[in-house]
């Protein structure tokens, strides 16, 4: 059955504000909303539109005045700051006396709970809103967990280049089942809505840790749970591209990045999944050699697509710069829409928005000269 043609909106979070792009039903014509970005001058780490309610949630760092979350229920015509932004519990004990430096990641809750949202922060913190982002509460099962500091390995740099809690995924088949990624710390899951947590890193490399079989301390860059297929998880990790295999206690990460072309390698930050086909995914490799230049390999940007769950990969660079394209793509700066022929979108560290309307076969540049792009989220409705 053909999916109906829908309009697509792209939310582009940048170092200097939020840009909103609107496409027509054919995705041939695009317009940028307004003459100036929303939140001009503010770091927008993430902007997400709820697929059911249309609420837009924005994680913005309000200059030097501390981070916050803003929400719009009228497609960005007006914004309200959260009355109670994500904040750690006030504690006298120094170990718990953390302050949110960045709100870094936002995820809508389970489809059955349209007013629930989750936020990940730096320092690593997890927060939940039950009222569509008006107030945010600490998920104490994580934030006050006695082992939390052990998982993280101590204080680390703040984003956009450093440590954070990201990749909050709610199991589409179970609202109580949560997955998170921590850089560093690893992948963790909770089956009781965040009250308790367990590491989920078996099989994943962590070549920077002394123990090759460590239970935690890994560095997932981007974790994705498939929205319609049960128990399908992929991650782009500091140490390669992985798919979760097996079931129950025997689950293990398999390095599907070993099937990437060797000169390209399997290091990168973003990873996105086809919204309907669980074996189809895209990555954007970067130069992860020596000092980690964090640029496209050889200055020749290219995506790689797998249509068989990572057993093989196809280079997709038609339309992208063939040389001197020294940018890369941050972990939440790549997205897909829900169209029949899936659109794939990414924003670069050099401020360009790229799109493909045929699942990566051809690429075109939608916008140039933006500030550094930190996040891209496409929504079809």
């Amino acid at each position: 059955m053909q999916a109906r043609k829908r309009r697509t909106t792209i939310l582009v979070g940048t170092r200097k504000g939020l840009f909103i792009l609107h496409g027509d039903a054919s995705r041939e014509k695009w317009r940028v909303e307004g003459d100036v970005p929303h939140f001009l001058g503010q770091i927008v780490n993430h902007a997400v539109m709820h697929p059911a309610t249309g609420t837009i949630m924005v994680a913005a760092r309000a200059g030097h005045l501390g981070p916050s979350v803003f929400r719009s229920t009228n497609a960005g015509k007006s914004w309200q700051e959260a009355k109670q932004p994500p904040a750690f519990p006030a504690r006298k004990e120094a170990a718990y006396g953390w302050s949110v430096a960045h709100v870094f990641w936002l995820s809508p809750g389970h489809a059955s709970e349209p007013h629930v949202w989750y936020a990940g922060t730096s320092p690593h913190g997890l927060f939940r809103s039950k009222d569509d982002g008006v107030t945010w509460q600490s998920v104490d099962g994580f934030n006050l967990h006695p082992d939390r500091l052990k998982w993280l390995g101590g204080a680390q740099e703040a984003p956009p280049d450093g440590a954070t809690l990201h990749s909050i995924n709610v199991d589409p088949f179970d609202a109580n089942h949560l997955f998170i990624g921590m850089s560093s710390g690893g992948v963790f899951e909770s089956t009781d809505r965040g009250k308790s947590w367990a590491p989920l890193n078996h099989g994943c490399a962590a070549d920077f840790l002394p123990d090759p079989n460590a239970l935690y301390g890994h560095d997932p860059h981007c974790l994705r749970v498939h929205p319609t297929a049960r128990d399908v998880l992929y991650q782009q990790n500091h140490c390669g591209i992985y798919k979760l295999t097996g079931s129950g206690a025997r689950r293990t990460w398999q390095r599907i990045g070993n099937n990437m072309p060797k000169p390209i390698g399997d290091i990168g930050f973003p990873l996105v999944l086809h919204p309907r086909k669980p074996d189809t995914l895209w990555v954007f490799p970067m130069d992860g050699t020596s000092v980690w230049p964090r640029v496209s390999v050889g200055g020749k940007p290219a995506l790689y697509c797998s249509r068989d769950g990572g057993a093989s990969w196809i280079k997709q660079a038609n339309g992208l710069p063939t040389r001197h394209g020294w940018f890369t793509v941050r972990r939440q700066a790549m997205s897909v829409d829900g169209a029949d022929k899936v659109g794939v979108y990414f924003g670069t560290t050099s401020g360009e928005m790229w799109a493909s309307f045929d699942e990566g076969a051809k690429w075109c540049c939608l916008m140039q000269h933006l500030p550094q792009i930190l996040s891209v989220e496409a929504v079809s409705f």
């Binding site: 200059g63 030097h64 005045l65 501390g66 700051e81």
Partner: protein
């Protein structure tokens, strides 16, 4: 007492940058402001009751880092949002 606020906090006060507020301590003063301009205190003081690193509070031109500092009615409080980075 007289309070002077920096430009970035003007979004909470409808652009008002010079106003009168009351409180026996810096903390009480900021709570007084927050009662009239909800959310403004959290932009100056984080969840652990620490003045944010880029906020400087001067009492009669003297830098103050403690929320417990006592205030007098004729004190002048200047809040500065320090900018950094390029």
């Amino acid at each position: 007492m007289k309070v002077l606020l920096p430009t970035p906090l003007g979004e909470f006060t409808n652009g008002l940058r010079e106003l009168e507020a009351k409180g026996a301590t810096v903390d009480e003063l900021l709570h007084d402001l927050n009662g009239r301009f909800p959310g403004i205190r959290f932009r100056m003081v984080d969840e652990q009751n620490h003045i944010r690193p880029h906020i400087k509070i001067f009492i009669n031109a003297e830098l103050e880092r403690s929320l417990a500092r006592p205030l007098l009615d004729d004190d002048e409080v200047l809040v500065v949002a320090a900018l950094s980075g390029g």
